[in-house]
């Protein structure tokens, strides 16, 4: 369908900016595996410090890329399914806030004033511009949410008897989760961290800050994941040449995400003091609940793909898999999505390990954790974002994809790389290899007293996998920026593949209404997080002043 010129420009900016920044993010991804394997035994290379680069890698890849994409894809989805355009001013203001905020945060990091990693754990202190930039990016992403609610309600009034499309439910669920969870981090940043980093308040409660961060931090991963889920349900069956096995399964999955994405954040804090074991155990068990929609999705998508393969004449219990359109340039999105799903098999299952209460003691903060999340955020999330970004770029600009063969093999190459990389990191993690550590200086430096020979093989596997991932990234950039430089050959448009459902499904009011689910969501969050926050406040009896990453004495300001 057609799209107005101003909206098209905004969407193209929202796709282009994060991919441009991703070049830096991926560059430092490669640098990290090189440092960690002990190939480089230095604090910095080419003016970029290890931890400064790690901050860039996390902020760009996990916050900037994902947020920009979720907004751009959300706009396109709402436009395509509700057949109306979002408000132009709101869309513009949102985009400007996000771009400006990103610029501010990036400047602080590049100036070396914010090497605190994307989790910005206080009492490490960053420049206020870093916190304010991040807050602007988040607030910018809130604006479209309210606009989409308006569009949804309008659509609903005009189509009272029609089931809301799964993609619209998915988008609204996703941004509802996002809005609620970011309230906590907005409080942490704007009320606690900014005044503290400016020197207006002397000390803050660190456990409270951590608990607020993880209220946001785990819901964040579903904010990354749900755009991919929307693509799995609404596009992948069509791309494979079949139909969606069950649309209601998709609706149920999205609503379970809505109620359970937030009240499980404490499973990142099993090692933390101050929070009681009862709270930790409760949130651990709830995490099993949020795994249910992913099991549902795994089966539903497998059944949809099987149907597509059988339509092509496939027989046999397993051999149908080979009838699917792998390595086909015309349906390159299939490659991006299916590879993401393959990685997510391992990513999802290892995630269950991490969230399983005492099992977390084996893996917490070891390299097992980045091994795991490169199979999730670096798997289905990242591949869906890459694939859909170039897909939308091509449609919105009316340009054909440059070097389509490269674009087609990127997800396969990436998958091979991630599997090797994550295998190495997880293997090392089980032997205690720490994450977020410049190991080249000590543990992987044979001339250091702290050299640990056990971690040589695992970090070398990480290096090998990381190298392949970087190569896949380069091929993608050639294809993406090559497309940008091409001439327009067709009319700009937004046109997504749409999967029909296999069986005709009647409208079920419970699965087409937000109100009951929102009420349950609020109730569970209240019941789980009131004790967590009370514990964090009551059991923490000393507040902390700010510290710079390079200095063991606190920052003291002259009054």
């Amino acid at each position: 369908m057609q799209i107005s010129r101003p909206l098209r420009t905004i969407l193209l900016i929202e796709l282009f900016v994060p991919i441009l920044l991703l070049t830096i993010g991926i560059y430092h991804g490669l640098m990290q595996v090189i440092y960690r394997a002990g190939v480089i035994q230095r604090t910095s290379v080419a003016g970029l410090d290890y931890y400064q680069g790690l901050t860039l890698h996390g902020v760009i890849n996990a916050i900037v890329l994902t947020t920009f994409f979720a907004v751009a894809f959300g706009h396109a989805t709402m436009l395509f399914y509700t057949k109306r355009e979002p408000n132009k001013t709101a869309t513009l203001v949102s985009m400007l806030l996000m771009v400006f905020g990103t610029g501010l945060a990036a400047a602080a990091i590049l100036a070396g004033k914010a090497s605190v990693l994307y989790t910005f754990y206080p009492p490490l202190k960053a420049h206020p511009a870093f916190y304010m930039g991040t807050a602007m990016l988040i607030i910018g992403s809130w604006i479209p949410y309210f606009d989409w609610i308006r569009m949804y309600l309008q659509w609903k009034r005009e189509n009272p008897n029609e089931s809301t499309p799964v993609a619209v439910i998915g988008t609204l669920v996703n941004f509802t989760i996002w809005f609620v969870c970011t309230l906590a981090v907005a409080y942490e940043v704007l009320v606690m961290l900014v005044p503290w980093s400016l020197g207006w308040t002397a000390e803050i409660n660190i456990m409270l800050a951590r608990t607020l961060f993880w209220f946001f931090g785990h819901a964040l991963v579903y904010f990354w994941l749900l755009p991919s889920y929307i693509m799995f349900y609404t596009m992948l069956p069509k791309l494979a040449g079949g139909k969606l096995y069950s649309g209601n399964a998709g609706r149920i999955a999205f609503f379970i995400f809505l109620i359970l994405s937030i009240p499980i954040g404490v499973h990142h804090q099993f090692g933390d003091p101050s929070i009681g074991r009862g709270v930790k155990l409760t949130q651990s068990i709830l995490t099993f609940g949020v795994a249910i929609p992913s099991f549902i999705t795994a089966f539903t998508i497998a059944a949809s793909l099987e149907y597509a393969a059988r339509k092509r004449g496939a027989t046999g219990l397993w051999s149908w898999i080979w009838k699917l359109p792998f390595f086909r340039k015309d349906v390159f999105m299939f490659g991006y999505l299916i590879n993401g799903l393959i990685l997510f098999i391992f990513g999802g299952l290892t995630g269950l390990v991490n969230a399983s209460y005492s099992l977390n003691n084996v893996v917490h903060n070891t390299s097992f954790i980045p091994g795991h999340f490169h199979l999730t955020v670096g798997g289905p999330v990242f591949l869906a974002i890459l694939g859909m970004s170039i897909f939308m770029l091509s449609q919105l600009s009316g340009k054909r994809i440059y070097a389509p063969v490269l674009n087609t093999i990127v997800p396969y190459l990436w998958t091979v790389g991630v599997l090797i990389f994550s295998a190495g990191l997880m293997y090392g993690g089980l032997m205690g290899e720490p994450r977020r550590t410049n190991m080249g200086l000590t543990y992987l430096n044979p001339s250091s007293e702290q050299f640990n020979p056990y971690w040589v093989v695992s970090s070398m596997l990480g290096l090998a996998g990381g190298g392949i991932m970087f190569t896949a990234g380069l091929l993608y950039f050639i294809s993406f920026f090559g497309t940008c430089l091409r001439k327009r050959t067709s009319e700009p448009a937004v046109d997504f593949p749409v999967s029909e459902t296999l069986h005709e499904e009647r409208r079920i009011p419970l699965l087409d209404s937000f109100k009951p689910w929102l009420a349950i969501m609020g109730l569970i969050i209240f019941l789980t997080y009131v004790p967590a926050i009370t514990d964090a406040i009551n059991n923490t009896n000393r507040k902390a002043p700010p510290y710079r990453p390079g200095d063991p004495t606190p920052v003291v300001r002259n009054q």
Partner: protein
């Protein structure tokens, strides 16, 4: 899409392959989870 001659109609389609895949997924999940579980028991 291409190849539209239907060998299976929606009515009689039984997702045998998907059920097999799901069984394998659960099996893999048990292997990974209990793998770490026994590492934990061995270390306590």
């Amino acid at each position: 899409m291409a190849d539209t001659d239907a060998h299976e109609t929606p009515e009689k389609f039984v997702p045998r392959g998907a059920i097999a895949f799901f069984a394998l997924l659960i099996f893999l999940g048990l292997v990974i989870w209990f793998g770490i579980y026994f590492v934990m028991l061995a270390r306590s």
